[in-house]
């Protein structure tokens, strides 16, 4: 199982280590540093590295490498999932998962790691249980603690750890009982230079914030559940009900959690809500080119497309760009060659446009790479897949909760090879 954990920052400092079995020397990380050097880019460090006596399985989250050391055959996904859970827990406890936050709370971090893993076996990873065992730091509490001498370690047995619903603690009480569901969908599409969709799918999640007293038993139903091609459930959901009735029936954890994530693939896909008109060309033998891009909305059921940001990875030969935007602002980073255009809201009456001159390195051959455009946007109050919530019922408790659901569609499109060029 998991032997040790090292936290390493981007400059290669090991700033925390934890061993669950015998101590493994820090020098084992040298193999990791070697791989990191070879990968050049931090994102490209391979997640599984073998060394003569150990295996290093790492994840990269929030500019921190979580490197775990294992010695025997352990499912790597198990380790990776667990590491992400550790990062999530830090995020949950400290508001951010950064080197500073971890150093500021090192004792809590250590206590958490101790509770999360025993002899390399996961012990308590549910945030509800952990919070009963170790209270998250708040400014108020640390002031109070330092005056009264009380601690942030709970001294009761975490009830959830024993029950059949480990994700919920007993005795929850709220004055305002509320349940919110956020449906967030993300389109992931690749569009070729002629504008036809090569590949598109929707990744959706339903994030919930449930603040209900007692042991509520909820069931959430959709108007069109067959839309979903594949679903991944929070453990609280009863799979049998979903199989037979397509209803999400569950006793929710307390607080924020991800209820389900789902995928809708292209067969069911509605049209992509924005389109792009583009003209990018480089002239032969001159060190300049033209750039002209317009973004417009397609049918989107009367909702506005907001938060539009376009990023373009320009060819290496591009020195700088002289552009004018009819709307929003643009930046071009001459080092990474990334053009970012923050468009904002699209109004159909006046389509945003960005055009101008591209300056190339003199003498460099005409670039062959076709820049790919990446467009991000948001549509409030619309699930792009067409998913609709039918109703939410609560059983088991008597009070009447406040219910709410919201929809956001995030888009991420990657139209490829927009410049239409001939190879000569």
């Amino acid at each position: 199982m998991i032997h040790s954990l090292f936290l390493i920052n981007c400059s290669g400092d090991i700033f925390l280590e934890k061993h669950w079995k015998s101590v493994v020397s820090q020098s084992v990380c040298d193999y990791f540093f070697e791989a990191q050097e070879k990968a050049i880019d931090v994102e490209n460090v391979p997640p599984v590295i073998s060394t003569p006596h150990h295996y290093l399985i790492s994840i990269y989250r929030d500019k921190i490498f979580f490197v775990s050391v294992i010695q025997t055959e352990v499912p790597p996904l198990f380790v990776i999932e667990f590491l992400h859970r550790v990062a999530d827990t830090f995020q949950d406890y400290f508001g951010e998962c950064s080197e500073t936050a971890i150093k500021d709370n090192v004792v809590i971090v250590y206590e958490l790691l101790e509770e999360m893993l025993d002899n390399g076996f996961p012990l308590a990873t549910e945030s509800n249980i952990l919070k009963e065992l170790i209270k998250p730091p708040t400014i108020l509490r640390s002031v109070v603690n330092s005056i009264t001498g009380s601690s942030n370690v709970g001294d009761t047995l975490p009830t959830g750890q024993l029950s059949n619903i480990p994700w919920r603690r007993a005795g929850v009480k709220y004055t305002n009982n509320e349940a919110y569901f956020d449906v967030i969908e993300e389109i992931d599409a690749i569009i070729d230079k002629s504008g036809s969709t090569v590949f598109a799918e929707i990744q959706g999640v339903i994030d919930s914030c449930i603040k209900l007293s007692g042991m509520p038993d909820l069931s959430l139903s959709f108007m069109n559940p067959r839309l979903l091609d594949d679903v991944s459930f929070h453990p609280c959901i009863r799979f049998k009900r979903w199989e037979s009735e397509r209803v999400l029936s569950f006793i929710p954890p307390d607080g924020n959690f991800r209820l389900i994530s789902y995928r809708v693939s292209s067969q069911n896909l509605v049209a992509i809500p924005v389109y792009v008109k583009h003209m990018i060309s480089f002239k032969e033998n001159t060190s300049s080119g033209r750039f002209d891009v317009t973004i417009g909305p397609k049918q989107n059921m009367g909702k506005t497309v907001e938060g539009v940001v376009m990023t373009v990875h320009m060819p290496k030969a591009v020195l700088n760009m002289n552009l004018t935007a009819t709307q929003g602002s643009y930046t071009f980073d001459p080092v990474t060659k990334v053009l970012t255009w923050d468009v904002g809201k699209i109004t159909p009456q006046k389509l945003p446009n960005l055009k101008g001159i591209v300056n190339l390195q003199s003498g460099a051959p005409k670039p062959e790479e076709n820049p790919s455009l990446n467009i991000q946007f948001k549509i409030q109050q619309l699930a792009i897949s067409g998913l609709k919530v039918n109703r939410l019922d609560m059983y088991g408790e008597k009070y009447k909760p406040f219910k709410g659901s919201s929809f956001v569609s995030d888009g991420e499109q990657e139209p490829k090879s927009l410049s239409s060029q001939n190879f000569t």
């Binding site: 199982m1 400092d13 700033f15 925390l16 280590e17 669950w20 079995k21 015998s22 040298d30 990968a39 880019d41 994102e43 599984v48 006596h53 790492s58 994840i59 025997t72 055959e73 499912p75 790597p76 996904l77 198990f78 990776i80 999932e81 667990f82 150093k103 500021d104 709370n105 090192v106 004792v107 250590y110 206590e111 101790e114 025993d118 002899n119 076996f121 990873t125 640390s142 001498g149 601690s151 942030n152 370690v153 709970g154 047995l157 750890q161 024993l162 059949n164 090569v198 799918e201 594949d230 991944s232 453990p235 991800r258 994530s261 995928r263 693939s265 990875h313 290496k316 990657e414 090879s417």
Partner: protein, 953 residues
């Protein structure tokens, strides 16, 4: 690399204040604070100590002071002290004893949280003295009324086992742990399974997780209720179970399927493993089989929307799954299209899977994508994309033309590495579709000068040599390479040598000088033995018999197969059992890389209904079953040699890897590897054990081929096989719906085979034969699939020699030489068991040195000696000796004592067991006395049987 935590301002109310730099006397200050009367100060001090420990500072000097803080009611302080103890107890074992009493007391605490914490911490203190005291509290905790304590105690057993395995066994903790599998609480069950699995890993022989239908049922119930991590342990454990029939397999599958919708990807993948494994047992005609196939695709696709690290592991596993069952994901090509922001390791994996899924239906899309990738920035990725285009051409014949024109487009870009990569793959395309695309050679020749990588140069030279008659200035081109001959890499040198010889055979008049030049460069001026050897072969060939040379060198080459990098079927089956593990990431069986390979048992998809279908049925094996291609790959000796001499670029060749591995490297170590094989060495063999069937598969024809060339027959021909018993009926037709199997075992030149006669006594045609062995005492296993080429018509019989190896799973059988066999055909699966004569396991190098023999004889205790009588054998000593030698029983010494001949003999079994024998032959007495001495006396009886069989026949 040390990272001193820097100075933190003390203004924040956070823990960073504990990171203030080490001042002189810091330890001293802490010591004072730890011994303070104020509780709060004590706690703060312990916190500071822990913080220092976290960043690797040595605070072990404070041990006694920290331990003093242990007896407290404050839970946090207690926990902190425990943390400290776990870290430093090892370095201060005597001091750690001080803590024992508190631990024992805490294990009795009314609060279950404290009890669990105490037993948990005690297990983490890796000090022998402490573990002695741990046993009693642990025993209590394993039976605690509170499940939280029980589940913690279960893990503690695993900890203790890691520290002192013997102690755990002596104290009977393993049995208690096994009982916990039936616990009422699912978390306890999960932890017990996890602990047992971990212990079992270091304890391969023990039958710790002996699963039966009842315990499986318990596990399946617990599966629904335990935590996600527990589910992973239980699923991994389930995967090791062998359901007794397809009904049971199906019912387990049904109960595991809901796990595919779990949010935790590790749970999903473990569930996939169970399903993939048990699916083997289900009949393909079953409706449920189809349903299951459909259910597997969506979760696999969903894994690809997770974090990149998860994607990577998922992709490595999907790579295995699409090889085993391509139908699962055949419609999901698009999800494997590369995204611009994927990390490079994800991109490369996706590319691999794209090619595996490429088919006529989607090839246009795939090619369009690949062409895009070939213009990306990352060099590795671009190279792989270009290579992928070539693989598509080879895989999907209809697309070959488009692939070639795409490659030509890419060559036009003149991007150096793209051009080189393209030339390498075009060479393969020529091999696959001869006389079709040679028109592009001119374009390739234009880029000759830009090639600077050995592989590309070698590929180009191969093309020039192969098509020398169509290239006007072939001699000039090759001559230009010859100038820097000694600076080239071996690969290029070898290729250049072959290409010029080819050229000479095609255009003898103009190129005589050139060929002499290259032969002298290769033989006289080179230090490389491979190169020299090949040079001499050509030289001799050309000088003795140019016609033969032409036949050998210019022989028609077998076509290369489409699927070049498929994992070998038996390995694939094994890897399928390891889905989700490190083995699946490395695509190697755990025995190949797990440290010390302790505790690794071979897993296989065996023995079950419909096994081997990956090899047999064309719809699952994408290449249509490489086994069937074998004869066309190695048709005759001449071609084999031709092969060796031509195909040393390591081009893809189909056929079972055992045959191809030596072929691919054959030319390079024609003498080295090839002859090693002849001499029974390990040479270029692909399989791990030298005594397997692999060498002979190729070794035999190679032997004669080379023998002819070099007159090296000495010693080779004399290795006649050992005694072969006549075939007996193993499976009567009555018991097997008309299929009669008779057979025998034989050993020839180091390889064991099972000679079978299959007779169809039914009225219908039989086909789709496959064979599997159950685990047996010596690990006998088929080295190749059972090949029955044509369906067996009624009243027809076919003789087959099935090569065996001894690398299969081992399980002691009773009797020792019992072999249980399952044979499948289109009608049903049949089981029978047979006894094999032990002498097929006697290896060729079983002759012991005299001194060694004497020493070993003395060394083996006398109680291991057994005596037997061989009756009615009227042979004299020499006849006995030579007869036995034929079956690899070697006479080490012969003595004449008081008129009787004493033969001292040795033999070695495939698993390395030596047996020493003393055979007393009295001239007047037809009965021989045999005394056997062996470290494993249980084999003696069977050795005696072997003696008797050999001598009496």
């Amino acid at each position: 690399m040390r990272r001193g935590p820097c100075c933190w301002l003390e203004t924040t109310m956070t823990d960073s204040k504990y990171f203030t730099t080490t001042k002189k006397g810091e330890i001293f200050e802490l010591k004072a604070e730890l011994n303070s009367d104020k509780k709060e100060k004590k706690k703060e001090a312990v916190k500071k100590v822990i913080a220092s420990m976290t960043v690797g500072k040595d605070v072990s000097a404070l041990f006694p002071d920290v331990v003093n803080c242990m007896q407290t009611d404050n839970l946090e302080l207690k926990k902190l002290v425990y943390l400290y103890l776990m870290n430093y107890a090892k370095s201060q074992p005597d001091m750690a004893i001080m803590a024992v009493n508190t631990f024992v007391k805490d294990c009795e605490d009314p609060n279950p949280l404290i009890r669990a914490l105490a037993v948990r911490t005690m297990g983490c203190i890796r000090v022998d003295k402490i573990t002695e005291y741990l046993c009693e509290p642990l025993r209590k905790c394993l039976k605690d009324e509170d499940p939280y304590v029980r589940k913690t105690a279960a893990v503690c057993v695993a900890k203790l086992h890691d520290i002192n395995a013997q102690l755990v066994e002596d104290q009977g903790f393993l049995d208690t742990l096994k009982d916990l599998i039936s616990d009422s609480n699912p978390m306890v069950v999960a932890n017990a399974v996890a602990a047992l699995s971990e212990i079992a890993e270091s304890h391969p022989s023990s039958n710790l997780l002996d699963l039966n239908p009842q315990s499986i049922n318990k596990l399946l119930t617990a599966l629904n209720e335990c935590t996600e991590w527990g589910q992973i342990f239980i699923l991994d454990c389930l995967a090791n179970y062998m359901p007794k029939d397809d009904r049971e397999a199906q019912s387990i599958c049904e109960r595991v399927t809901p796990r595919l919708s779990h949010a935790n990807s590790a749970v999903v993948l473990s569930a996939v493993k169970v399903l993939m494994k048990f699916m083997e047992m289900l009949s393909k005609d079953l409706d449920y089989y189809g349903t299951l196939l459909k259910k597997l695709a969506p979760p696999l696709v969903t894994l690809l929307s997770a974090e990149p690290e998860l994607q990577y592991v998922a992709l490595r596993n999907i790579n295995l799954i699409v090889q085993k069952r391509p139908e699962i994901l055949k419609h999901e090509m698009k999800v494997f299209f590369v995204k611009y922001n994927d990390p490079i390791y994800v991109k490369l994996e996706k590319l691999d899977i794209m090619i595996r899924l490429a088919s006529q239906a989607n090839i246009a899309q795939v090619l369009a994508e690949l062409k895009e990738y070939a213009t990306e920035v990352d060099v590795d990725f671009v190279r792989k994309a270009v290579r992928a285009i070539g693989r598509c051409a080879i895989k999907v014949e209809q697309s070959a033309e488009r692939c070639v024109s795409t490659l030509l487009d890419l060559i036009q870009t003149k991007v150096n590495y793209v051009v080189q990569e393209a030339i390498v793959v075009i060479k393969d395309i020529f091999r696959k579709y001869p006389n079709k695309y040679e028109s592009v050679i001119a374009t390739l020749c234009e880029n000759l000068d830009s090639l600077d990588e050995p592989e590309a140069r070698a590929a180009m030279i191969w093309i020039v040599g192969e098509y020398a008659e169509r290239i006007d200035n072939a001699d000039e081109l090759l001559e230009s390479f010859l100038e820097g001959f000694h600076d080239e890499s071996t690969q290029v040198q070898l290729q250049l040598l072959t290409a010029i010889v080819k050229l000479f055979l095609k255009k003898p008049t103009e190129t005589q000088e050139l060929v002499q030049q290259v032969l002298s460069l290769a033989t006289q001026d080179s230090d490389n033995p491979d190169l020299r050897d090949r040079g001499y072969i050509y030289w001799r060939l050309l000088s003795t018999d140019p016609v033969a040379a032409k036949e050998v060198v210019l022989a028609e080459k077998p076509l290369i197969s489409e699927e070049t990098d498929l994992i070998e079927p038996t390995l694939l089956d094994e890897l399928i059992c390891y889905i989700g593990t490190l083995a699946s990431v490395y695509h190697k069986p755990p025995s190949a890389f797990v440290e010390g390979s302790r505790g690794v048992t071979h897993k296989s998809l065996l023995p079950r209904t419909g096994s081997n279908e990956s090899v047999e049925s064309p719809d699952t094996a994408p290449s249509g079953g490489p086994a069937a291609d074998q004869p066309s790959v190695i048709p005759t000796q001449g071609d084999l040699l031709g092969d060796l001499l031509n195909l040393d670029l390591g081009p893809p060749v189909s056929g079972p890897p055992m045959a191809t591995a030596p072929v691919q490297m054959g030319a390079v170590d024609l003498l080295g590897g090839g002859l090693d094989i002849l001499m029974g060495g390990t040479g270029g063999s692909f399989t791990p054990a030298p005594n397997t069937a692999a060498p002979t598969n190729v070794g035999a024809p190679l032997g004669t081929g080379l023998g002819d060339l070099f007159d090296l027959t000495g010693g080779v021909g004399t290795l006649s096989g050992s005694y072969v018993a006549p075939k007996t009926v193993w499976l009567p037709a009555m018991k097997a719906k008309g299929l009669e199997i008779s057979g025998t075992f034989s050993r020839q030149v180091g390889s064991i085979s099972m000679d079978l006669v299959l007779t169809n006594k039914a009225l219908q045609v039989m086909s789709d034969f496959a064979i599997q062995f159950n685990r047996n005492s010596f690990g006998l296993a088929p080295a190749a699939p059972l090949q029955v080429h044509a369906p067996l018509a009624p009243n027809q019989s076919v003789e087959i020699s099935l090569p065996l190896n001894t690398v299969g799973s081992v399980m002691k059988m009773d009797p020792l030489n019992n072999l249980q066999v399952a044979v499948k055909n289109n009608i049903d699966v049949f089981y029978f068991s047979t006894l094999y004569p032990l002498h097929i396991l006697f290896v060729e190098d079983g002759k012991m040195e005299r001194q060694m023999f004497l020493a070993t004889w003395k060394d083996i205790p006398n109680e291991n000696e057994t005596q037997f009588q061989i009756k009615d054998c009227s042979l004299n000593a020499d006849a006995v000796s030579s007869k036995l030698q034929g079956s690899n029983i070697f006479t080490v010494a012969k003595r004449n004592v008081e008129g009787q001949d004493m033969l001292y003999q040795s033999l070695k079994l495939t698993n390395g067991i030596w047996v020493l024998a003393e055979l007393r032959i009295q001239p007047s007495n037809p009965n021989l006395t045999l005394s056997l001495k062996c470290r494993a006396p249980e084999v003696s009886q069977y050795i005696y049987q072997a003696y008797e069989t050999i001598l009496k026949n």
